[in-house]
């Protein structure tokens, strides 16, 4: 139905945005996660990704429920707590021709899932890994997570006395090749970032601050809407030109850092910080460390590397999905077994 009707509301593969929608959200009204789901829908729609070509992955938690709320026409795997990275690795090995987008949370990633998370980064597994980061465990009623900032206050008055894990700094150090931080309330930045992420081959790690309206949106919280609106310091303004778009020229080219993505599209970063080069790994980590010392929350794309081979490249697998290779390619012939038996005699 969608492909037949030419309408300004269809994307370049002829699908309306409706075909990217999911089920009704059961998260709290105003939850940042819902806004992120909306941006995922917009990005996939605008990029013209066929929903059937997407695998939606998640672990356990509020964030991990959200794949049910976008793109119902995509296969989804809501796995076990902290194991999205491992399950995604297997799924991608099974079919590396798919676009894989995973939604995890700060607890799911930075505590129970840390072991799998860091090894996924190290492998540069080709997937988009989103942390919907609210600093608390929602489903168990608001305990601190490992990304909660030092000194941050719970509704109950409990103060967090441990330093936060900076998942972006970690991701850059450990091998992710597209690392950014955004805020669920920043529609424009998040959309551009997601669109660029879709064009990237390799691990995209996006930490998206997503206030928990129920357990972490009060005075004293460092992951509240108010706090983010007051303390968000973008390091770059993002513009993204998809490979099928005409290049627009309204960007101030003098201050633009342009990165050509794998599919020929362009990510344009207008520098807000002096000398910020997102391909400089050491500088990216340093910038994050300095911002931490200054109690700033930087957002933007911190690091991009379009040269690094992905895990699939390293494994040198055939172009077709391993999952559906025919028996003629996967079961060696009888002569092979006969030869093995002969050698064992």
């Amino acid at each position: 139905m969608a492909t037949a009707t030419p309408s300004p509301k269809v994307n370049h593969i002829g699908l309306p945005v409706l075909d990217y929608r999911g089920g009704k959200s059961t998260l709290c009204a105003g939850c940042g996660h819902n806004a992120i789901s909306e941006r995922i829908i917009d990005a996939m729609f605008e990029m013209g990704v066929e929903p059937e070509r997407v695998m939606k992955m998640s672990g356990i938690g509020c964030s991990s429920k959200s794949p049910a709320y976008f793109m119902s026409r995509s296969h989804a795997f809501n796995s076990v707590h902290g194991r999205m990275a491992a399950v995604s690795t297997g799924a991608i090995l099974g079919n590396h021709t798919m676009t894989t987008l995973g939604v995890s949370g700060d607890g799911d990633t930075a505590s129970i899932g840390m072991g799998g998370f860091v090894h996924m980064l190290r492998r540069n597994l080709p997937m988009i890994y989103i942390i919907e980061d609210n600093g608390v465990y929602g489903l168990t009623k608001g305990q601190f997570s490992a990304t909660a900032d030092l000194g941050s206050k719970l509704k109950t008055g409990v103060i967090n006395d441990l330093p936060a894990i900076d998942t972006c700094a970690l991701a850059i150090q450990l091998g992710a090749t597209f690392v950014g931080r955004s805020f669920s309330g920043d529609k424009k930045q998040l959309l551009s970032m997601l669109k660029a992420a879709i064009s990237h081959k390799g691990t995209v790690m996006l930490d998206v601050i997503s206030p928990c309206v129920t357990f972490n949106d009060h005075e004293g919280s460092t992951k509240s809407y108010k706090f983010m609106q007051e303390n968000d310091e973008p390091i770059n303004e993002l513009g993204f030109v998809a490979s099928f778009d005409e290049i627009d020229v309204d960007y101030d080219s003098g201050q633009v850092y342009e990165v050509e993505m794998h599919d020929g599209s362009n990510l344009r970063l207008r520098k807000l910080l002096e000398d910020y080069d997102p391909t400089d790994k050491a500088n990216a980590v340093r910038t994050l460390m300095e911002s931490q010392a200054n109690d700033e929350i930087l957002t933007g794309v911190f690091y991009i590397n379009t040269e690094q081979p992905t895990f699939i490249d390293l494994l040198n697998v055939v172009d077709s999905p391993l999952a559906t290779l025919p028996e003629s390619l996967t079961r060696p012939p009888k002569s092979a077994l006969d030869a093995l038996m002969h050698n064992l005699q």
Binding site: N78, V80, R83, A85, A86, G94, G115, L337
Partner: protein, 613 residues
């Protein structure tokens, strides 16, 4: 009793003229871990095999890289018995640390071949001593001092071969096979074999009564370990994704798999039709297996007890979300770290019910290397047919030791990829419900990611779901799925490998066993027949859930002894859950769980005691 050491026992210390013992004894080689004795032991084993004599080898090694004592036992048996024997008649003592103790452990009338400088003549007056200057002989044939530690092992191969009258030509051809294409290495090693052989011929007049004589019992047979056979099974199942974490004693399953994949599964363009990933832990390994299985790939992992524990949560997800995957568990002793290099069958219960909630799993129980291969590939068909994780329960004894076998047969049927809907199917059907029992066999149809149809996708979750894969907390929807899963498990009874009835005559008494216990039990049945004139029936169980024949076997006997290698009678417990109450009372236990493979004599004795024979 016709076995060698019992015959010896009857003639305590008599070293004079006696009957020859031909092709029926064990050789125990005591060396130091990491000294490279493995290839020498293998050459000796294959030389006896080359003489046409049924043979088996067992490596009793420490959990250590180098330096601790290790023993390798080779059993020659004209009757084809390949289980461990309690005692070995012939000792090759190379390790000074244990030499004295090793000699003390010999049965009367045994043989000790040892490094001359150990001076062990005084230790026993009822064993034949053959001191050999191993170090001197080695130095003479191996100018390079660094290699002497390794080459020394070949000297004992030569000496033992001469003493047992193994044809030197057979040793030579075995060695040539071992060092194929490495002429220099062959020359050096064969020089060492010759040195030992010649020394024995010249200086050690034969005083013992053990001989290897040519037979024709090994023609056409192969020698392989169970782990290599499992790996081979996986490759001939067309496995495409392997995710694993190293753990003794399962590591060589993946090593064998990987070697064969590299050999057979690279396209002419140099691309791999497989992916092998060394994961960060067993949690990730099983997660990758399920991710790949969900995407439609044939995926596997191999592990042992501690890894199985870590895989528990995911195994429940695999069961509930109905995702195929194959898990090889090569069992070692527990609890906890246990004795990592010792064998047991103590994971049966934990694997059968691995994970929380009402979870149960298909478990295949190979009892030979041939079955490691056959169940190795059958597991993948079953996993995809039944859409569930399938466990293959091997053990260290079966997995890491060399066993003689008939050659493996090529799979007779094509791969069974199970119920998968294609785009064309969906065009025809319009839509589908992932967990709906449309065929009455309790197995739903699935789709794979990438199926180009707007109705192909479904939402896989470990949370409560209805037959359309939708989230649910409704009691009736939850129960509907759980009951279908129970029906599916029940229908698996007919799909898994059925039991093997080795004997089912008129006896009132029967044996039940599984896995590597079979080797000792077969020998034990012969012992019981010889010693007590009793014919006892025997059925070997090859899978859980249990086939109906197992129920029938118990029903048709008055007493059934369940022989297994664990403390808690795990197979018996599992049977008790399955059998009607009036049958349960018939079960008796014979347990062996000291970490060494069960032997026939122990089983026979315990059976005799329990039966009051």
């Amino acid at each position: 009793m016709a076995t060698g050491h019992l015959a010896l026992g009857q003639e305590q210390g008599a070293l004079g003229a006696r009957e020859r013992v031909i092709n029926d004894f064990s050789i125990n080689v005591a060396t130091v871990n990491g000294s490279g004795s493995q290839s020498a032991n293998s050459v000796l084993l294959k030389s006896i095999f080359g003489m046409g004599v049924p043979v088996s080898g067992k490596n009793l090694f420490p959990s250590n890289i180098a330096g601790l004592p290790t023993w390798y036992t080779i059993r020659a048996s004209k009757d084809g018995y390949v289980a461990r024997k309690r005692e070995a008649e012939i000792l090759v003592a190379i390790n000074p640390e244990t030499a004295r103790q090793d000699v003390l452990g010999l049965p009367a009338g045994g043989v000790a071949i040892y490094e001359e400088s150990f001076n062990l003549q005084q230790v026993r007056d009822d064993v034949v001593c053959y001191p050999v200057p191993f170090d001197k002989l080695t130095a003479a044939v191996c100018p390079e001092a660094k290699l002497r530690k390794l080459v020394k092992n070949m000297v004992y191969v030569g000496a033992v071969s001469q003493l047992l009258q193994i044809d030197l030509g057979v040793v030579e051809s075995g060695l040539r096979k071992q060092f194929a294409k490495k002429q220099k290495v062959f020359d050096l090693n064969f020089g060492a074999v010759k040195a030992g052989y010649d020394y024995a011929a010249e200086k050690l007049p034969k005083q013992d009564r053990f001989f290897i004589e040519r037979m024709n019992q090994t023609a056409g047979k192969i020698i392989i370990d169970g782990n290599a056979a499992c790996g081979m099974g996986a490759v001939f199942a067309g496995v495409t994704v392997v995710a694993w974490y190293p753990i003794t004693p399962s590591t060589s399953v993946v090593e064998a798999t990987t070697d064969l994949l590299k050999k057979f599964r690279v396209t002419p363009e140099g691309k791999a039709t497989f992916a092998v990933v060394q994961a960060e832990d067993e949690l990730a390994a099983i997660g990758m297996v399920l991710g790949a299985g969900w995407a439609g790939a044939r995926s596997m992992t191999a592990t042992s007890g501690p890894g199985i524990s870590l895989m528990a949560e995911f195994s429940g997800l695999g069961y509930y979300a109905e995702i195929p995957g194959v898990i090889f568990d090569v069992q070692r002793t527990g609890p906890s770290t246990g004795m990592p290099t010792r064998t047991s069958q103590s994971d049966l219960l934990s694997v059968a019910f691995l994970s929380h909630g009402d979870t149960k799993h298909i478990v295949l129980l190979p009892g030979s290397v041939k079955e490691c291969f056959e169940m190795g590939y059958a597991a993948f068909d079953l996993a995809e047919r039944l859409q569930t994780p399938v466990f293959v329960l091997s053990d260290l004894d079966l997995g890491m030791n060399n066993w003689m076998s008939d050659p493996f047969d090529y799979p007779a049927t094509p791969l069974d990829r199970g119920k998968v809907l294609t785009k064309e199917d969906l065009d025809r059907l319009g839509e589908f419900a992932r967990y709906r029992d449309v065929d009455g066999d309790a197995i739903g149809w699935r789709t794979l990611p990438g199926t180009d149809h707007p109705k192909a996708a479904y939402f896989t979750r470990g949370s409560g779901h209805n037959d359309a894969a939708g989230y649910t907390e409704k009691p009736d929807e939850y129960i509907e799925v759980m009951e279908r899963l129970a029906r599916k498990f029940d229908s698996a009874r007919k799909l898994v490998p059925g039991p093997v009835t080795l004997k089912n005559g008129t006896s009132k008494v029967g044996f039940l066993a599984f896995g590597s216990t079979d080797f000792a039990l077969r020998e034990s049945l012969d012992q019981i027949k010889k010693e007590y004139g009793l014919d006892v029936d025997y059925m070997r169980i090859r899978a859980y859930p249990f086939a109906q024949e197992i129920h029938d076997f118990v029903a048709s006997h008055e007493r059934v002894y369940v022989v297994e290698q664990n403390r808690d009678a795990q197979l018996e417990s599992l049977l008790k859950l399955d059998l009607p109450a009036e049958q349960v009372v018939k079960l008796r236990s014979i347990l062996h769980y000291n970490g060494l493979p069960v032997d026939a004599q122990t089983t026979t004795e315990e059976f005799a005691t329990k039966e009051g024979l």
